[in-house]
C-alpha cells in the first residue's frame, strides 16, 4: 500500500514535468509486436505485445442459432479472460468488472465499425455461423484494452472460414479468410498528473485518475468510446484526443 503511494507520487511528479520513467514521450507507444497465426487449432489467432504486456486472441467459428430479433444474422461474441498468471491481483473465477469492460469496449469497436458482415454468416433458417473471439490477458503491464483490441483485430484478419457441408462444419477444409470490411484500433488515454498519456504502463495506471478509450477505423472515424474513472473530460480535451486517436489509430492498424 505505502509502496503504491510512493510509486504514484513518483509517476505524477515526472508527468508534471512532461516526462515518463522509461523516457518515452507522453503520446508514444512502447514497442508493438503482433504475431498472427500463433495457434494452428484456432481458426484465427494472434499474440499482441505492447512493451511487456501480452494479450493472446483466439477466434473459433462455430454453428449457432441466430438471435430471435435478428434471424438473418450470424453471431459475434467477444469474451475476455484475465488469466491469473497475468497479474498478482487477478484471481480465477467469474470475470470482474474490468474484464467485462475490456471485452465490451473491444466488441463495440469491431461491431459498430461493421468490420464483420453478420448477414454474410447466415447459412439457412435457424442456422448461422458464430464468430467467437476470446481475449486472453497473459501478462498485464498496462494498457490492456489497446493490446486486446489489436490482438483481436489481428486474430480476425487471420481467421480462416471452415467449409459448411451437410449441416456440419468441416474444420480441415477452408474456403478462404473471414472477410473484414475495415480495421479498428483502440487508443486509451490515461489522465495522470493533469496530462493525458498514451499506452500507460502498469505503474502509471496506478497513478491514473481516469481513462478515455477511443476506437477509430479506416476512414478516420471514431467507432467507439468509453470513459472510465472519476475524471471529468472537457469538450476541447475530447476533441484534441480524437485528433490524436485518429493519427495513432492509423499507426496501430498498420501493425495488423
Amino acid at each position: 500500500m505505502i509502496l503504491d503511494e510512493v510509486k504514484e507520487a513518483f509517476v505524477k511528479d515526472l508527468m508534471k514535468q512532461g516526462k515518463r520513467s522509461d523516457e518515452r514521450g507522453l503520446l508514444d507507444y512502447r514497442d508493438i509486436r503482433v504475431t498472427k497465426g500463433f495457434l494452428p487449432n484456432a481458426e484465427g489467432s494472434a499474440l499482441c505485445q505492447i512493451g511487456d504486456t501480452k494479450v493472446l486472441a483466439g477466434v473459433k467459428i462455430a454453428l449457432a442459432t441466430p438471435y430471435p430479433d435478428r434471424p438473418d444474422e450470424g453471431a459475434f461474441v467477444v469474451n475476455s479472460e484475465f488469466c491469473p498468471v497475468a497479474h498478482p491481483e487477478f484471481r480465477a473465477g467469474p470475470p470482474d468488472e474490468r474484464s467485462i469492460e475490456l471485452a465490451r469496449v473491444v466488441d463495440r469497436g469491431i461491431r459498430s465499425a461493421e468490420c464483420i458482415d453478420l448477414k454474410g454468416l447466415f447459412l439457412e433458417e435457424e442456422k448461422v455461423l458464430g464468430v467467437f473471439l476470446d481475449l486472453y490477458t497473459l501478462d498485464h503491464c498496462g494498457n490492456l484494452i489497446d493490446a486486446a483490441a489489436l490482438a483481436g483485430m489481428a486474430a480476425l484478419t487471420d481467421c480462416k472460414m471452415p467449409k459448411y457441408e451437410d449441416g456440419a462444419l468441416v474444420r480441415t477444409e477452408y474456403k478462404g479468410n473471414l472477410e473484414l470490411a475495415r480495421k479498428v484500433a483502440a487508443c486509451s488515454f490515461e489522465k495522470i498528473g493533469g496530462q493525458f498519456v498514451l499506452d500507460a504502463t502498469g505503474e502509471e495506471e496506478t497513478a491514473s485518475e481516469g481513462r478515455l478509450t477511443l476506437s477509430t477505423c479506416d476512414g478516420d472515424l471514431v467507432c467507439s468510446a468509453q470513459k472510465s474513472g472519476r475524471i471529468g473530460v472537457k469538450k476541447d480535451e475530447l476533441l484534441n484526443l480524437v485528433d490524436i486517436a485518429v493519427e495513432k489509430g492509423a499507426m496501430l492498424r498498420s501493425k495488423v
Binding site: 463495440r108 477505423c217 471514431v222
Partner: protein, 249 residues
Amino acid sequence: MKSDKELFRPDGKRLDGRTETELRPLKITAGVLKRADGSAMIEWGRNKVIAGVYGPREVFPKFMTDPYKAIITARYIMAPFSSQEEHGRSGPNRRSQEISKVAKHVFENLVLTHLFPKTMIEVHMEVIQSDGGTRVAAITAAAVALADAGIPLRDLACGVSVGKANGKLILDLDKTEDNFGESDIPHVISPRTGEILLYQLDGMLTKEEISKAYDMVLEASKQIREKQAAALREKYESALETAENGDVQ
C-alpha cells in the same frame, strides 16, 4: 448498425413527433422511498427508474475500507419485466455490470468523498421500465437521490444520449431510434463545469459530429438540471410548509 428503417416522418419530425433536439417528457420526483437515505424516481418518456442511496455508512465488506475517503458502490439493474420484449433474466448481466462501473465513476467525481473517510455510499438504480436511454436516466435520478440523502456534491450531474438516425444527429433516443439508428452516444455531464463524466459511443462518427453531439447535450442539460432542482425544491418546500404548520412528523 445501419438499417433501412425510416426514422423520420414525411413532415421532418421524428416518429414520435419530436424535433431533432427535443427531449421526451421528463418528470423527476425526489424522496419516493421512506427507508432509503435518499431517493428519486425519474419518468422520462416511457422509461421509469427508481434510484435510492444508503450512506455514508459502515463499509461492507470491511477490507474495502479506505482510511482517507468514502468508497462508492453503484448498481444499475434492469427488472426482468422492464422491456417490451420477452421476460428478461433477473440479476446483473455483462451490460449492467459495465454500466454500474462507469456510473460509479460518475458518483466518485460528484461526491465529496474525502469528508467521509472509512465509510461507504451505496447507489442503487432500479430500471422498472425501459425505452432507450435508461443509463442516463438512472444516473440523472441517482444524482437527485444523492442530494436528497444530504450528501455534499460538487454538482448535480445529468445526462442524455445523442444518436444518429438516417444521417442526422438526434437528441434523447428512444428504443426504436436506438435499435434502428446508426449510433448512440450516452453523455453524462456536470452542467456547472461542462465536464463529461460518462461517455460511451458506438457508431461511426466524425470529429465534427462528436463536437455537435456534445453541444446538443450541453444545451439540453439546462432543462434536465432544472427538473432535478425542481424535484428537490418541491420535496423540501412542502416539508418546510408542513413544519411551519406545526405538523412535524
